[in-house]
Subunit: 453 residues, 2 copies
């Protein structure tokens, strides 16, 4: 890929200006008041795809937020790469913990600070700029299609139907995704597996209204205490999840594979230091990397009930709520898990309360074997620009739609992401190192080159 | 008390208008933005006390919100009644559950609907209007002092010091309080005991910032889950509180006294129907009335952490919080309990998190024996207006300062309240039946009459 470094050097200030315009649109899919921002963000993407060299780009309707589609077909006989990304971002609360405004990107200490700087505006924008480079320098070796959705952070609910409806338009030989992390700036890696996801909203109701905790306390069930007991019961003393049947479909990883995975560099002391924790905590019998890579887990992402404001209100609340999620591994069916949990948790409710479980979103786990042409092309591309062979990793995170692509479109995805563990995606002070952003733009064209060979 | 009914009938519209002016001032002591409202409310009270017949009334400084003091001394040789009440009210959240605006009082279905309608603006205002009646009709048989504080709902923190400082001014033979409930409109009762209170703020910290639940989930402790386990462990399977030493000072009530208390009318089916619960829930071996009257209890008044908004944010939060309170019975020392809990809960924290317990407020339990002149005067007053002898009850609620009065001023309090269990004090849609409000004004003068005899 001739002159890629020079092209990036000459244009990087413009790249950042364009990315910042995208970031400034607060496209938070989880919050309904941002509906208009979703449309604005999609239109901005359409504009950028046309400017980068697409022959055609459209903001297309879906059952929910619109999908941006663009394409450049150079020769139907050549292979086609479908680039997938998302233009929606996570909510920003708690705002008081941000050191800069989440939607006012700034570059400081070599990093871009903003919501979406990495996930996924920064990463998907690398794809657009790598494409621009290949078009403008006459080196594009494949047909390219872009698909950017606006619901990834809330489960890609509408994209499954969109894919079903537009199978022909989306026909491709590989799906290329930059929405994952690599081990370290000098340790390239490719995500060969993703955990699946199940998410539920839980509501526990005691009395039909908030009560005075003095007059009723001790005689009427406290839904916060009951919910706490029910949550406490979801793990046993070894950190195993207690939902009957939960582990039934989990594939046992061979000792050999576990030994190979253990070779990836990992400094547990540094990990603890960075998080300021005295000890890691998880399922007995597994290492930290295994706990997040090859084992499922269950977390409570949110809880609330009663008086949560200032002062000491003495209330026996009527309701308590929680948001509970599990991460699933290959072979676990999220629909089955979704039902298992709902049935178990509702049945576990004592008679003194009423419990309602509402599944919100979910998705299957995904594995991309190393012996595919697509994986090998990504491996060669990273070897080219990093000077060393990338390590295959299993990510703890989930991109449920990736398993959906395989099911609906029959195409494997390659997860070549340039994020870092320290980017704080989904948290306050999300950031993306400039070096990763630029190295991504440099590396992606080589994927096209090797995939076209 | 001649013509009391006629006086009330002739003036009740004005009574309501005056009360409504008091209610419209949102004097929420737990929320610092209402500091000015506290002062406005205190000044309104001063105006009302002077208008009702006090010789002197003042808004006096304390370490916190001001205290309203007023007095009418007719003859130093006569007994002196110190009326205590509070002009502060509880917070109103969740506002969406209110059917009317909390600070826009309306009369509907025979009830006054508003925050403070009962607790304690409505009830303390009965005292002012009963006093007005006695003054205006020349029937006042005792000296009267009024003391209204602005911090009852946050623990009366400044009133202890105020009482120490003004012992001489506050000298009296009995303290009369209308801030409790009676059994039913046709079943008068007097609160002969109050539970004490201890309240703590709890904070559990895992990692030093919110994490992506996919990337870290399963390997880093989730503070919501740890907090849930710690809360779950505060009661055993019989509903006993597990804090070591918690029950050490609880006085065992004799079988005879329990049998007497059991004679108070109580319809558990109606209780469950009213609260829409399938079953009551509490300490094994005790009835519902005993659980709220003679036994201590522990409640979680609030809990929060992680994502509590719309949508399904996949976060492994850094922090989880709870507000935990206990109700104490006679002979339990709240300072001792406060320390017991803090020590126990902090020590119970597993190594993977940090736990901080901050005691907020507390107060001792209180008992007023039936064989005092003060209790007997209240009993006769109610018998006079209700035509039946009131039942002595133990309230589950707490008015910590009442035990403080006994300690600092050396005077017993009589808790002659006219609230009902259905008044939803501390909850949305607080209300106070007009009939109770007017019957209170009618009954109070008889207390003065019999106490002066």
């Amino acid at each position: 890929m001739k002159d890629v470094k020079a092209y990036i050097e000459a244009n990087k200030d413009r790249f950042l200006e364009e990315l910042f315009e995208l970031i400034r649109i607060p496209s938070i899919s989880a919050e309904s008041e941002h509906k208009d921002d979703m449309v604005r963000c999609a239109n901005k993407w359409k504009e950028y795809l046309l400017a980068a060299g697409c022959d055609r780009a459209e903001v297309m309707p879906s059952a929910g937020n619109p999908v941006v589609y663009g394409e450049k077909i150079i020769d139907p006989a050549k292979p086609t790469v479908l680039v997938y990304g998302h233009y929606d971002v996570m909510p920003v609360a708690p705002l008081e913990l941000w050191r800069t405004q989440p939607f006012e990107p700034v570059v400081k200490d070599g990093r871009i600070w903003a919501r979406g700087a990495d996930d996924d505006k920064g990463q998907s924008f690398m794809q657009a700029k790598a494409f621009e480079f290949m078009v403008k320098t006459g080196q594009l070796p494949c047909n390219v299609k872009f698909m950017l959705e606006g619901e990834e952070e809330i489960g890609s609910g509408s994209l499954y139907g969109f894919c079903e409806e537009h199978k022909e338009m989306l026909k491709s030989d590989v799906i290329l995704v930059s929405d994952t992390s690599m081990i370290a700036p000098d340790v390239p890696s490719i995500t060969s597996g993703l955990r699946g996801l199940c998410y539920w909203d839980v509501e526990v109701t005691g009395a039909n209204h908030d009560l005075h905790s003095g007059i009723y306390g001790g005689a009427v069930a406290n839904p916060i205490i009951i919910l706490s007991k029910m949550i406490a019961g979801l793990h046993d003393e070894n950190g195993h999840i207690t939902i009957p049947g939960f582990y039934d479909d989990v594939l046992v990883i061979s000792d050999e594979e576990r030994a190979l995975m253990a070779q990836a560099p990992f400094d547990e002391e540094a990990y603890k230091r960075e998080l300021d924790i005295r000890t890691v905590h998880g399922e007995k019998g597994y290492t930290t990397k295994e706990r997040t890579g090859i084992r499922p887990c269950l977390d409570v992402c949110g809880i609330w009930g009663g008086h949560t404001g200032e002062g000491s209100k003495t209330v026996l609340p009527s309701k308590a709520y929680a948001k509970i999620s599990t991460r699933l591994v290959a072979n676990q069916d999220y629909n089955k898990i979704s039902k298992l949990f709902k049935d178990y948790f509702e049945a576990a409710a004592p008679e003194c309360v009423r419990v309602k479980v509402t599944p919100s979103h979910g998705g299957a786990a995904y594995v991309c074997p190393m012996d595919t042409k697509a994986y090998r092309a990504a491996e060669k591309a990273m070897t080219e620009t990093y000077g060393k062979r990338p390590i295959p990793t299993r990510s703890g995170g989930s991109i449920p739609i990736v398993a959906g692509f395989e099911r609906i479109l029959g195409v494997k995805s390659v997860l070549m992401g340039f994020g870092l563990g320290s980017d704080d995606i989904h948290a306050p002070n999300e950031n993306y190192p400039l070096e990763q952003f630029l190295k991504g733009i440099e590396t992606i064209p080589y994927f096209y080159k090797y995939f076209a060979e």
